[in-house]
């Protein structure tokens, strides 16, 4: 087995008063062992919901995984009972979130919060857990670990708290770490430190990372493989270098174009025209068609499928369907 996790035709819908929202619509991908896969997309494209579906934490009521398979160590996570799923959560699959400031319990000491997974998953005693918690705090680069263990979240800065979150996540040596916008809420200088730390941890412990971000800078720095999502669907995926150098999908091109490049001052920063479509009235069409500069008539009536284009790259776009057909 060379995959840490394999997601197969996953669909997660949210049922609202106004109708069903296909937050994740028939998405398949895999995270190879020891690699970092990035999911990129604008907010609302379904990247976070994908992560929550893997964790089995899709928000009820309303949210529900409709179909699909999530293969992790030979088991389908969607078929596991609550108890077995809990023993994987925080243990073999761990997760860190966007807002470190609100992701830690404000009325519990930092140490206590790190100790919890150690006690439940690794069956440590309180004393062992505390010793280990202090080691972990040190490991994520915080000095005075003893003192930090006895403080409350509001006494630490956002960067420190995200380190604590990482300490909690890696406490049980997970095989897969899901990081949902781990640096978005942090200052730029802190962002780089956190990313460096994640990379170090990955190489040292042979962990796989599923990184969710909207920031192409983070992708360039971290990813081995990139998945671009739009309106709940994967529109393009590929090796990071390939994708950055030869983006195929007009959306990916747009994303790359709208990223500022140092030393290259343009009159105006590029931005993709239009807005993400309303997830409630998605028609049978390419969801990107009304923002696409190369929109064709077929794009408005039929949805393109994800097709392999070139080596290690897939794209869902009619431009390439035709190209494929003509070759």
């Amino acid at each position: 087995m060379d995959n840490s996790i394999e997601i197969d035709h996953l669909s997660t819908y949210f049922y609202t008063e106004e109708g069903a929202v296909k937050a994740v619509d028939d998405v398949s991908f895999r995270v190879p062992l020891g690699q970092t896969v990035c999911i990129v997309g604008e907010s609302g494209c379904g990247k976070s919901v994908t992560a929550m579906s893997i964790m089995g934490l899709v928000e009820e009521p309303g949210g529900k995984v409709i179909s699909g398979k999530i293969d992790f160590s030979g088991e389908d996570l969607l078929k596991l009972d609550k108890h077995s799923l809990r023993s994987i959560r925080g243990n073999e699959i761990a997760m860190i979130f966007q807002e470190p400031m609100s992701s830690l319990n404000p009325v519990m000491k930092i140490g206590e919060q790190i100790m919890e997974p150690l006690i439940i998953h690794l069956k440590m005693s309180k004393k062992q857990a505390r010793t280990r918690a202090i080691e972990l705090i040190e490991q994520v680069g915080i000095s005075r670990p003893e003192q930090i263990a006895d403080s409350y979240p509001h006494e630490l800065s956002g960067g420190m708290l995200q380190r604590i979150m990482i300490a909690i996540a890696i406490s049980c040596n997970p095989k897969l770490l899901i990081a949902d916008e781990p640096t978005t809420a942090l200052d730029v200088t802190i962002q780089a430190q956190i990313l460096d730390m994640l990379r170090d941890i990955k190489t040292n412990s042979n962990m796989s990372i599923l990184l969710i971000t909207h920031d192409l800078g983070v992708v360039a720095e971290m990813a081995d493989y990139v998945i671009v999502m739009y309106s709940g669907k994967i529109v393009e995926e590929g090796e990071v270098v390939e994708l950055f150098e030869r983006p195929k999908h007009p959306y990916t091109k747009g994303l790359l174009k709208s990223k500022p490049i140092i030393n290259q001052r343009l009159e105006e920063l590029y931005s993709i025209p239009g807005q993400v479509p309303n997830p409630l009235d998605l028609q049978e069409s390419c969801y990107f068609h009304d923002r696409c500069e190369q929109c064709m008539s077929i794009c408005q009536t039929k949805q393109p499928q994800l097709q392999e284009v070139g080596t290690q790259q897939k794209v869902a776009c009619w431009l390439y369907e035709e190209a494929v057909a003509h070759v």
Binding site: R86, R89, S103, N105, V107
Partner: protein, 318 residues
């Protein structure tokens, strides 16, 4: 913190001073007094008694006497009962406290458990049922539910005694005494719990609903904690925190008795004493009682404030 506290204390005394003035004026304003209500007395005797009790002195002087005595811990002398007001309080207050402490305890336990569960299962049929029950409990006229339950459970079914603390003429002691008191207090405690549990359950429910939407609850779940642990350690700790301020607000209810319930159930508590004295226009006792509640209210607010500062790590350090 200490300047804040001293400011609070000064303000507290000012408010109490103003309250005492208002209370005194209100009762002084009420026409008729204990002596004029007694038709057996001759006019001469009435004048004599007024003189003895200082009732014919000017208003301000009477207030001055009342206040200076109150500062020395003397809240006057009950005319009807011929005992010092404080001594009477001491005789009756513990009966009130007994009812209040048991029903408050029950109210909190029920409210926390039901509130947590119904928040967790928001919009389920259980939750809807709880919501309806909450509204029902909040809408009951206290005296009516008391009478209604006495009629059903005591008069018709004869399961429980209709009122009082002991059976008339009883001289039970030890365990038998205890059993008798418990038997008598069941109905009033049930009614008091019923009256209080609605709003408190609702309070905990909405607190919990807010808390379980927070990011740290998601974190706790992502750690692989059981739902029970997520709810009862992570969420409840946060939901209980603001409730700590309520503890102080319970103070007047704990020691002040309940005018309506004690009257309906003929419970020998301080509320019943008040109602009885009200009919007799026993002003020293009435003033003493009202002032006592005012003091408890102000004190309760202060305690709430302090507790909140002590309990919340975010506030504590500021």
């Amino acid at each position: 913190m200490s300047t804040y506290l001293s400011k609070r204390l000064i303000y507290m005394f000012l408010i109490l001073f103003a309250a005492s003035l208002l209370i005194f004026c209100l009762y002084a304003l009420t026409p008729g007094d204990f002596i004029s209500g007694n038709i057996k007395l001759t006019p001469e005797r009435k004048a004599e008694l007024r003189d003895i009790y200082g009732l014919n002195k000017p208003l301000l002087e009477r207030y001055g006497i009342w206040m200076s005595n109150a500062f020395r811990g003397d809240f006057g002398f009950s005319l009807a009962q011929q005992k010092p007001v404080l001594q009477l309080f001491n005789e009756y207050i513990w009966n009130s406290f007994l009812l209040a402490v048991v029903s408050t305890f029950l109210t909190w336990v029920i409210a926390v458990i039901v509130g947590v569960i119904s928040a967790y299962k928001q919009y389920s049929w259980f939750d809807t049922l709880v919501m309806v029950a909450i509204f029902a409990a909040m809408s009951i006229p206290s005296f009516f539910i008391g009478l209604f339950l006495i009629k059903i459970l005591a008069v018709d079914l004869k399961w429980l005694p209709p009122g009082g603390m002991l059976t008339t003429g009883s001289n039970a002691t030890g365990i038998a005494y205890l059993k008798e008191v418990i038997h008598h207090m069941t109905l009033p405690v049930v009614v008091m719990t019923l009256l209080g549990v609605g709003s408190l359950t609702r309070y905990f429910r909405s607190n919990m609903i807010d808390v379980i939407k927070q990011d740290y609850i998601r974190t706790a779940r992502a750690k692989g904690l059981t739902e029970r642990k997520v709810l009862f350690t992570h969420a409840l700790r946060n939901a209980l925190l603001p409730a700590i301020t309520l503890v102080g607000f319970e103070l007047p209810a704990l020691f002040g008795g309940s005018l309506i319930i004690e009257k309906i159930f003929n419970w020998p508590g301080i509320g019943q004493l008040y109602m009885q004295s009200f009919g007799l226009r026993d002003y020293p006792l009435l003033m003493g009682f009202t002032m006592f509640i005012a003091i408890l209210t102000v004190l309760g607010t202060l305690i709430s404030d302090i507790l909140y500062h002590v309990a919340d790590p975010r506030v504590r350090l500021q």
